[in-house]
């Protein structure tokens, strides 16, 4: 994707959000040839450049959303590359990192090439793909990690299926290390979490829901950390959601292991009580946690202990959600709601804009070796211009995703995307 090189794009008077330097400052930004050409307070628009007056509104590197479920192949009735791409553009997401938990799983170079071609043809934003770590995500044999890397896989993960056989996982990690491939794990002790629909505690007990102790997540991460120490692999925990998991993560980082962690926007902004009267749109994997856990995650994002915020976008059709809570599908869509939800933390004074975009853009891009996520000369002009203050009531049927399963339906939110640019081209909004 490239912009018309003859015409520059000049953002006048924006609040420049630089997640790399963790700085927010007023200034101008010039885009030329699809890349950021210059940034600063004293720039003047070159002749013929299109000038966008930002009036002091934030301009940040577009979101790199690590872990988006798209229903291709297999479940296009839930989400296609086209609908996910349009939802992403509207949500300020300029790079989707797609999950391989499709049907069939993305576990061979052939399937990967197929989805890569489909994605490029139909989505207005960049889409990069992860591949399964084991064949069929069955946890028995590792995939062709080398070939898949050559075909463009940016990371390897079995998503929410835990590789229970430690021998298999240790071999996959050791092999991945030889190629410096990133392995993404789902820290969870599956023996404890099997069948769980809620986090154990007073709420789950009163609702009579099968529940899992937060300890299952700590145990899962502890096990994975042991294997990382053994193999030296590069590892990212997809979602860390419990306070008691954090000391283990902190220790692993302090010991110099190549470990990073993410958290979904839902676990940062909602807690178990939001489930209320068995509302299945709040059923997630892992389940929503206690308020103390949520606050601990917010703090861990603010301090940088948790590196990445993702939407964990998981489209589910109405039928799979219109069931008793235990039987309903888990997951929520998030591409379009991630930014306004994240801005709740900004408005609450808990996490600043630069830190938010470090977790949503810079850190995931760095992790995956992408050149996105930076507001610096030479970086691709993947940008989001937004108004953090404009209030609106969330209406799920206004979402561009094919599936409308958002837990924020009917809620008051604050912050809207004005325009999204990919490689200097406007893919959403009117400016």
């Amino acid at each position: 994707m490239s912009a018309d090189p003859t015409q520059g794009l000049f953002f006048r008077d924006a609040l420049l959000v630089d997640p790399e330097a963790l700085r927010e400052s007023r200034g101008h930004l010039l885009v030329e040839g699809g890349r950021i050409a210059a940034i600063g307070p004293d720039l003047t628009p070159p002749e013929g450049a299109r000038v966008i007056d930002c009036a002091g509104r934030p301009l940040a590197p577009g979101i790199v959303d690590l872990g988006v479920k798209i229903g291709e192949p297999g479940e296009r009735h839930r989400e296609s590359f086209g609908t996910a791409g349009r939802a992403a553009a509207a949500g300020g997401v300029t790079t989707i990192i797609a999950r391989p938990d499709t049907e069939p799983a993305i576990d061979t170079p052939e399937v990967l090439e197929f989805v890569t071609r489909r994605a490029a043809a139909s989505a207005p934003v960049r889409i990069r793909h992860m591949a399964a770590l084991t064949k069929g995500r069955a946890g028995r044999e590792m995939t062709e990690i080398g070939f898949l890397l050559d075909a463009g896989a940016v990371a390897f993960t079995d998503c929410d299926r835990v590789v229970t056989d430690t021998k298999v996982l240790s071999r996959a990690l050791a092999y991945a290390r030889s190629l410096d491939a990133l392995v993404i794990g789902h820290p969870q002790e599956p023996g404890l979490s099997k069948g769980a629909a809620a986090t154990s505690g007073k709420f789950a007990s009163l609702r009579g829901l099968p529940a899992v102790s937060p300890m299952a997540e700590r145990m899962g991460l502890d096990r994975d950390i042991g294997l990382i120490e053994m193999t030296g692999a590069r590892y990212h925990a997809d979602q860390v959601t419990c306070a008691r998991t954090l000391p283990a993560l902190e220790r692993a980082k302090r010991n110099g292991l190549r470990v990073t962690a993410g958290v979904s926007i839902h676990h940062l902004t909602l807690n178990e009580f939001d489930v209320g009267d068995y509302r299945t749109f709040f059923k997630l994997t892992p389940p929503l946690r206690a308020e103390e856990d949520r606050l601990a995650m917010v703090e861990a994002v603010a301090s940088g202990l948790i590196d990445v915020i993702c939407s964990m976008h998981t489209p589910a059709d109405e039928e799979s959600k219109r069931l008793p809570f235990e039987e309903a599908a888990a997951g929520a869509v998030g591409l379009e709601t991630m930014l306004p939800a994240a801005l709740r933390l900004h408005h609450a004074g808990q996490v600043g804009l630069a830190r938010l975009f470090r977790a949503m853009s810079y850190a995931p891009a760095q992790l995956l070796g992408l050149e996105q996520g930076r507001l610096a000369a030479g970086a691709p002009a993947d940008l989001v211009l937004f108004d953090p203050d404009v209030p609106f009531a969330m209406d799920r049927f206004a979402l561009r995703s094919k599936s409308k399963n958002t837990p924020f339906d009917g809620q008051m939110m604050q912050g809207k995307v004005i325009a999204t640019f990919v490689g200097g081209l406007c893919v959403f909004g009117e400016v």
């Binding site: 154990s200 505690g201 009163l206 609702r207 809570f325």
Partner: protein, 321 residues
């Protein structure tokens, strides 16, 4: 009258005043049920459908009898064997039934929250006859009525609930009701059968039965389901009976006039000694069954009154409900 709800989905949303209203009316139905002629016409012309997705003999019979004594047209749907097996969803089943215009739906389902979900899709009164591990409100109400009649009050009592609390909707509804009525509650059972976080609900937790039963006024035993007996949650039936089965020796720690309750069906020799269950001076287990019919009559009577009032208002306002 202070009972205004449309459905009875759980004890959680009832106020102490509403609970008293139900119990007071149930007292009157106990008297009626003891007469030779047991009919009223409180529900005359109304249709009651019993929809039990989980097999039940006692509760279904109790609801059926309650409805018939109130003059309703009662139908039992054998849903456990029918459409659900053919892949129909709960909501479709509900909508199908709703189209037949019932007035009262009595529902039991094996998933927690399923009855709430169903209630949101129909426009008749729904009574929860037990959903998963969530609630079984009429059981808690009949237990409260039994206690009130045996003890003369339903406040400031020491009440022990013993056994498989984790998997019991009866325990949850009782916990909520007896807590609302300001009693001191104790939960007794092996740690594997106690749900997490219950200590936050203001109960005392005991894994030693003798200590837990000390000076209590009411002993509520729970049924231990067969599938939980071997190895998974407890080592064996006989060890469970030894540590948590109610026998004369353990009951001796309770107050001398303590009553013994059990929601049935009982496993004699597993959670309760047959001698205790049959002791007419201590056991109120048969009274519970009798109170069950009266409480269900009271609940259906009150819900039917609310339903008629609502339809009256809607007719006056020209809205079809």
């Amino acid at each position: 009258m202070t009972f205004r709800a449309r459905h009875l989905l759980g004890i959680e949303h009832l106020s102490p005043g509403e609970i008293r209203t139900i119990l007071d009316l149930a007292d009157r139905y106990v008297e009626l049920n003891r007469r030779t002629v047991k009919r009223t016409d409180a529900l005359a012309g109304l249709t009651q459908i019993n929809m039990f997705f989980e097999n039940s003999t006692r509760t279904q019979a109790s609801f059926e009898l309650a409805g018939k004594r109130l003059g309703a047209d009662v139908m039992n749907m054998a849903v456990a064997q029918s459409s659900v097996k053919k892949g129909e969803t709960l909501i479709d089943t509900a909508l199908t039934l709703n189209a037949m215009r019932p007035d009262l739906l009595v529902v039991r389902h094996n998933a927690s929250g399923a009855v709430n979900l169903l209630a949101s899709k129909v426009n008749c009164a729904v009574i929860n006859a037990g959903d998963g591990r969530h609630e079984h409100p009429t059981q808690a109400l009949l237990d409260a009525l039994t206690i009130r009649r045996a003890k003369g009050r339903i406040q400031r009592l020491r009440i022990a609930i013993c056994g498989d609390i984790a998997h019991s909707r009866v325990a949850r509804s009782n916990l909520i009701l007896l807590g609302k009525m300001e009693n001191r509650l104790r939960l007794i059972g092996p740690p594997t059968l106690l749900p997490a976080g219950v200590a936050d609900l203001g109960c005392e937790i005991f894994d030693d039965m003798n200590a837990g039963l000390k000076d209590v006024d009411v002993v509520m035993m729970l049924r231990l389901q067969k599938e939980r007996m071997d190895g998974g949650f407890i080592p064996s039936e006989r060890e469970y009976f030894h540590r948590y089965g109610l026998d004369a020796e353990k009951l001796a720690h309770a107050a001398p006039d303590a009553i013994v309750m059990h929601p049935g069906p009982m496993n004699r020799g597993v959670e309760i000694d047959g001698v205790i269950a049959d002791d007419i001076n201590r056991s109120v287990i048969q009274d519970q069954v009798e109170m069950g019919v009266a409480v269900r009559m009271a609940v259906m009577d009150l819900l039917a009154q609310n339903l008629r009032a609502e339809r009256g208002r809607a007719a006056a306002g020209g809205i079809d409900v």
